[in-house]
């Protein structure tokens, strides 16, 4: 009985240690993401809207400029991300 209990405890401890390690890695990657500039930028871009002179509304994605010939010159790859704080 005692032997069984020791074996059982050993495996329980081993599994829980693995789970703790697994969760800490998961949490580390989640924290890395939630504290990143990419996360803040993604959240901002998900919500940001802009109204055009013709009263149409679009999101703030700068790649929208590529849809209009007169705005193509204003497009600079990575500009919005770089100036975002």
């Amino acid at each position: 009985m005692k032997k069984k209990f020791i074996i059982y405890s050993f495996f329980t401890l081993l599994t829980s240690q693995n789970l703790i390690a697994d969760n800490s890695i998961k949490n580390k990657n989640i924290t890395l993401w939630l504290n990143s500039k990419e996360f803040r930028f993604a959240e901002y871009m998900s919500k940001c809207k802009v109204q055009h002179p013709d009263s149409s509304i679009s999101n703030c994605n700068e790649f929208n400029n590529l849809r209009h010939r007169h705005l193509e010159d204003k497009f600079k790859l990575g500009n919005a991300y770089q100036i975002f704080e």
């Binding site: 996360f39 993604a42 959240e43 929208n64």
Partner: protein, 177 residues
């Protein structure tokens, strides 16, 4: 009692069409479409037919997915690459402890009026590896919703985006073939 709990879980999934892993990914905004592909594809199918959804939902439920940490790593890379990388650039992440890795390659950016309505969109391929198994998926990310005549289903309606996230509408590349 067990049946009641099972029924409650099942009915909540049926009502929302969302899997548990997708809800977790939404909670942390780790929504890169390739790494959430099976869940998003099942959800996308709810907009098309119920039978397709049921098949895809079952398929997703039986597959071991990437963990939330990997989903966040892939999403982080995707956001940066879509907004800042040139065509042909490749970005990577690796998680040695989980034996997983991911890559994103920007294939093409559609410029100007000769793009058949795809102007501003970016075509990219996402490669995900887990325990030696590798899977490639192509997506077209557009800054706006694609309209009539670009991606029509058999009934003539525009195919909806798989995901709207971070200023992009993500379309599964297989619909363009």
């Amino acid at each position: 009692m067990k049946f009641l709990i099972f029924f409650m879980i099942l009915s909540s999934c049926v009502l929302t069409g969302k899997t548990q892993s997708l809800r977790e990914a939404e909670k942390y905004a780790c929504l890169a479409p390739s790494i959430n592909y099976k869940s998003l594809d099942a959800l996308h199918a709810t907009k098309i037919t119920a039978i397709t959804w049921a098949k895809k939902y079952t398929n997703q439920a039986l597959t071991r997915e990437f963990n939330i940490g990997d989903k966040c790593l892939h999403t982080k890379l995707l956001i940066k690459m879509l907004y800042t990388s040139e065509d042909a650039d490749i970005g990577k992440w690796t998680n040695k402890l989980e034996n997983t890795s991911g890559q994103i390659k920007i294939i093409k950016t559609y410029y100007g009026s000769g793009s058949n309505g795809l102007a501003g969109c970016r075509y990219y391929i996402s490669r995900l590896s887990k325990d030696g198994n590798q899977e490639d998926r192509g997506f077209i990310a557009c800054p706006n919703q694609l309209g009539w005549g670009i991606l029509d289903d058999s009934r003539g309606f525009p195919v909806p985006a798989h995901l709207v996230f971070a200023g992009w509408y993500f379309y599964d590349e297989r619909f363009f073939k």
